[in-house]
């Protein structure tokens, strides 16, 4: 397996605060991988650097053999990195379809002038984009809300729209920041199923940040654990579960058994 994403000695400082400190990790193609760690450990900051929202203070991110520091932040999507946000970052005045269409941005070509005329190539490309969007909508089972204005949807539905939008980018790597927080068991199950399908059917590599141990332990291939910006552990779900450092910093002993399948 090749490393799709390789992070070397990555650090980020905010003033006096070392949010991410000297983190190195690799994500292989076709993996579902999780990043866990206490609140404020720097997980989101790590995602922000991978997706171009923040520039690293030091260190290197290589994606698909490309050094990401050499390209402008807005090109990260075109390179193949898609993400969702911890606190929802939807275009909340638009409809679901429109939000997902925005995700297709890098795959369309029309310029302002083409847009004004809206004829020929532009029209064809728009129609094609809509076709793809319909497929994604079908895939994520959100047909019934396709024309709703995003701002009026429930939290869980919005999260799903965000996922759809990220998929519309056709990324090679999908970063999911706390996808299932605020969802109940049933909705969590749906998301788990989607994540597995995304990897299996679409061949997209997935990195998740989650605090919900059921989904982390059940579907990840590999888990990376951060604490105070540093990586303190890495391994398969079973290895991580048994790691005493992880238990102490993050899981907090008493409930780990409950997460065991079949307990």
């Amino acid at each position: 397996m090749t490393a799709l994403l390789a992070i070397e000695n990555l650090s980020k400082r905010f003033g006096g605060l070392q949010a991410v400190a000297d983190v190195s990790l690799q994500v292989n193609s076709g993996e579902i991988c999780s990043v866990i760690g206490p609140n404020g450990a720097g997980k989101t900051t790590l995602f922000n650097m991978i997706s171009g929202v923040l520039r690293p203070s030091t260190g290197r991110i290589t994606f698909d053999r490309l050094d990401l520091s050499t390209i402008s932040p807005w090109k990260f999507a075109a390179v193949g990195i898609g993400r969702t946000f911890q606190n929802l970052a939807l275009f909340k005045h638009g409809t679901v379809v429109e939000n997902i269409l925005t995700g297709r941005h890098t795959h369309l070509r029309s310029t302002v002038l083409d847009a004004v005329v809206f004829f020929g190539r532009t029209r064809k490309e728009e129609i094609e984009a809509r076709q793809r969007v319909e497929h994604i909508i079908e895939f994520l089972e959100i047909e019934h809300i396709r024309d709703a204005v995003v701002g009026t949807l429930s939290y869980g539905q919005q999260k799903r729209v965000e996922l759809a939008r990220a998929l519309a980018c056709e990324p090679k790597l999908l970063l999911l920041d706390e996808m299932v927080s605020g969802m109940n068991q049933e909705e969590t199950e749906d998301i788990a199923r989607f994540v597995l399908d995304i990897r299996d059917e679409l061949g997209i590599t997935v990195v998740m940040i989650e605090h919900e141990m059921r989904i982390v332990m059940d579907i990840s291939d590999r888990i990376h654990v951060l604490n105070f910006g540093r990586k303190i552990a890495e391994g398969t779900p079973d290895e991580v579960r048994r790691d005493p450092a992880v238990a102490e910093a993050y899981l907090g002993g008493q409930r780990t058994e409950a997460m065991q399948v079949g307990a």
């Binding site: 869980g156 969802m183 068991q185 969590t188 199950e189 059921r214």
Partner: protein
């Protein structure tokens, strides 16, 4: 209509006043947004004094709407109580101004933290103690710091830059500053690390056991909530579809399947979730 399942609840006839009475009661309440969207239809809920009452339900069920009604801030979102009443200590309170409700001891930790981003932690707490005198506020602040030492460490930091978990702690601490009788928590475990959730749940239990505080707990994390709650309600699309003691609910087959993720065969792995699932019985 929903209640075709034989569940052992005392609330058999939803159209009458609730059978249990409590510190806080919602009676046959109906809430409409924008004069058009009916978010809550005829719900009756009672929160007995000194209890933890869990309010469960999927996204959009109307849980937060109930809490907004309780705090008197529905009007800020073009929402209105069309019918029914909210009673606190047997007084009708749904027409009171938010600050009066806080003074009477009703407070909530809103969904999604909502800390004052531009203010420091200290100032956020100060705002929690706005209705209290200076001395009272100082005293309560010390208690909050004792409960959440992390807040004390970073007391001069701008709240907006804290991590999600830290903000949740701050939001709870800020609510405690008002010295509440009834504390409502809207999804307190949202986005928190397991260890922190443990801590927060410990705190909630302590609030009930030591300070005799009454807690209304809205949660997605049904397992956790039912672990500590005394009583629970399940809300679906604006209606109470099930209620009972925590024990009764934990034993209910539907609740186990849909809210706790355990079937008769024990907890199943999320890898094995089927695409087509059993329907909830109360929807049939």
């Amino acid at each position: 209509m929903p209640t075709t399942i034989p569940h052992p609840t005392p609330q058999a006839a939803p159209l009458t006043a609730p059978a249990r009475d409590g510190l806080l009661e919602f009676r046959n309440i109906r809430i409409v947004y924008d004069n058009a969207i009916e978010a809550i239809r005829d719900v009756s809920i009672a929160v007995p004094e000194g209890n933890i009452v869990a309010l469960l339900g999927s996204n959009g069920a109307g849980k937060s709407t109930l809490l907004k009604a309780m705090s008197g801030i529905l009007y800020t979102e073009e929402g209105a109580i069309e019918n029914g009443s909210i009673r606190f200590r047997n007084d009708e309170v749904h027409h009171l101004a938010p600050d009066e409700l806080v003074r009477r001891g009703i407070v909530q930790v809103p969904e999604g933290r909502r800390v004052f981003a531009a203010l420091t932690i200290d100032e956020n707490l100060q705002m929690g103690g706005y209705t209290r005198t200076g001395a009272e506020a100082r005293e309560r602040r010390d208690k909050v710091f004792a409960l959440f030492p992390r807040l004390h460490e970073r007391r001069d930091q701008i709240a907006g830059y804290m991590s999600g978990g830290e903000q949740q702690m701050l939001a709870i601490g800020r609510a405690l500053m008002t010295d509440p009788v009834l504390l409502a928590l809207d999804e307190p475990s949202l986005g928190l690390a397991p260890l922190i959730i443990d801590r927060i749940y410990e705190v909630i239990v302590r609030l009930r056991d030591e300070l005799k505080m009454t807690v209304l707990l809205v949660e997605q994390n049904a397992q956790r909530a039912l672990d500590i709650a005394d009583y629970g309600y399940i809300l679906e699309t604006g209606r109470v579809v099930l209620d009972g003691t925590a024990k009764q609910l934990t034993a209910n087959e539907d609740v186990r399947e849909f809210y706790l993720g355990v079937s008769s065969a024990g907890r199943k792995s999320l890898r094995d979730v089927k695409h087509y699932k059993r329907r909830k019985r109360w929807l049939s």
